[in-house]
Amino acid sequence: MGAAPATHAPAATEEPPVHTTAEPETGTGRRRTLRIGAVLAASVALLVTSVLVTVVLGQADISVRHVWTVLSDRLGLSFLQVDVVGLGADRPNEIRADIIWQLRLPRALSAIVVGAGLAVVGAIMQTLTRNPMADPYLLGISSGASLGAVLVIVGGVGAGVLGVSAGAFAGALLAFALVLVIGQRYGTLTPVRMILAGIAIGQLCGAVTSFVILWVADPHATQDVQFWMSGSLAAARWPSLRLAAVVLVAALLLCLWQARTLNAFAFGEDAAASLGVDVNRIRWLLLVACALLTGVLVAVSGAIGFVGLLLPHAVRFLAGPDHRAVLPLSALLGGVFLLWVDTAARTVFDPRELPVGVVTAMVGVPAFIWVLRQRRVQG
């Protein structure tokens, strides 16, 4: 090679290089920005239509117009119903209205919030640890949540779902705190230590969970534990959704604020530091934010796998590695993905419901193998 740069050298020095090369390159840059904008807009449209469509799907006989009526009633926009001219009023009966408002909508929106959150956390974990296999549960959060939930179920501290969720949340954060204590050294977080500490704590929590289940030998508890380990959105209701949505929005804003900083990690932490990034501060800030978000999500839905691992890879494949595109797109497409997966989980074998984690794995593993093959091609 050597010959190629040599031929470029004279051209670059004779004429003003900025102008000769800027034209085509800014062109491709603008095209890329436009493409990402188009993908973002399409994702938002996809998200909205997906909600309307998936809420209709299921056992009860519900139409899009029912959904529209219930939505506009609840949101105080009933004047909009007049505008749906020609279709006439199609007011659903009480039961249908309840199914829409109390079950399907909160479940659909929860799927979106959980999917969006997991995908964003996965993207950030992969960047901060420079490990393409990283996912939101890398730092012991899911096993901690299972243990916390099991202890509440077995100990009967709070019989209601909220009590168990609170236990899961507390367990998740305790496990994460332990991982941080073990994973830091003189206040510095290093990825390898964090990952190893996460594996260790995860194994420990898993072992204690198994022990507790065997000790109690309560089939009901075993079933509940299954819920936390493989994940399900069947219990999603408005109160938990509201909390999760608020935490998601806050975490998302924080992460977007750091999007450019995350780009600087492309060549490793030293490279990031020499570009002016306070690596340790960013790690602490984003890891704690991600752990809080993941803890809340796990409390809502249990530990749903593969979304956080795969979606970021798929998004990078679509939009390139820039976090200013990767993070919002991960949120949007993660939400759409989990919404449809959860819809499949509850409708395909109707009236039996599959655990959503089973479906994400069945969709996710082939997709993941495909991603792996792509990576090999790229070197």
Binding site: P132, N263, G268, L275
Partner: protein, 280 residues
């Protein structure tokens, strides 16, 4: 144009009494050095002599136990990291990423210390990045994927990224280590053309002799010699520091020192027949 003269006014890089140790082992031991403004300073020394650690301390990637680093008169330890990144850029010996970035994406990373949060790359940023690519003879490579670039091209892109930081000091840690001789020569030529104050750890002593205006020799963490390549790269010093037998001649074209190394005495092959007969 000796080192001492050009740094009287505080410009350039000055390292004072710098020490760094890991688990009780002293890696950099009380090093004092200056790198004159606008020139290339070579940091040489055997493996494990502390070159990389010293450069890491200069770039504040490692925190020294003792000592200070002054860049154009200001204490590096007191600068905010972003401010430091605008004044000092690093080129590592081997930069790698799995991400699917173009050469231009990589060069634009050099604008990180100048931009905040979601702020988009401005047209000026792109112009700077493209200009930097042109300066390292990579003008046609902006849209090329990082994964398709050769080792020499990658180092040039990294140099372009460093130039895009518009630094006062360029820190290069064995930048030519993985490069063949032609890419090594052209990379260091580009560094020289950039005209910045530069400090480079170099393994190849002939490259150091050819490109450096000032040379600092490290042995077991201590700076044992400093000066022009001519003054420093002597047979005595090479025997002393590297434990090698070498002749130092003059490069026929550059007039710089030219080093010829000899195999260790025990395994020395017999000299070619004609010359040995003439000598005797």
């Amino acid at each position: 144009m000796t080192a001492a003269e050009t740094t009287q006014d505080g410009s350039g890089l000055r390292v004072h009494d710098l020490s760094w140790s890991a688990r009780g082992t002293v890696i950099v031991d009380d090093v004092e050095l200056t790198a004159p403004a606008g020139r290339i300073t070579g940091l040489i020394g055997p493996n494990g002599s502390g070159k990389t650690t010293l450069l890491r301390a200069v770039a504040r990637l490692a925190r020294p136990d003792r000592g200070a680093v002054h860049l154009d008169g200001s204490d590096v330890a007191r600068l905010r990291r972003r401010e430091l990144a605008r004044r000092l850029a690093v080129v590592e010996q081997h930069a790698g990423t799995d991400l699917d970035m173009t050469a231009l994406d990589v060069v634009l990373l050099g604008r990180t210390p100048y931009r905040t949060a979601l702020q988009a790359d401005s047209g000026a940023d792109r112009a700077l990045a493209l200009d930097a690519l042109a300066r390292v003879d990579m003008a046609g490579f902006a849209a090329r994927k990082w994964s398709t670039l050769s080792g020499g091209e990658r180092q040039r892109v990294q140099l372009a990224r460093a130039l895009t930081q518009q630094p006062g000091l360029l820190v290069l840690d064995e930048p030519t280590n993985h490069l063949d001789v032609s890419h090594a020569l052209s990379l260091l030529t580009l560094v020289r053309e950039a005209g910045l104050t530069s400090i480079a750890a170099l393994h190849d002593l002939n490259l150091a002799a050819m490109f450096c205006d000032h040379v600092v020799v490290l042995r077991r963490g201590r700076a044992v010699a400093a000066g022009s390549p001519h003054d420093v790269l002597t047979p005595e010093l090479l025997r002393d520091v590297y434990e090698v037998d070498a002749d130092v001649g003059t490069h026929p074209r550059t007039g710089r020192p030219l080093l010829t190394f000899h195999p260790p005495a025990a395994s020395q092959p017999p000299a070619p027949a004609p010359s040995s007969q003439e000598d005797s």
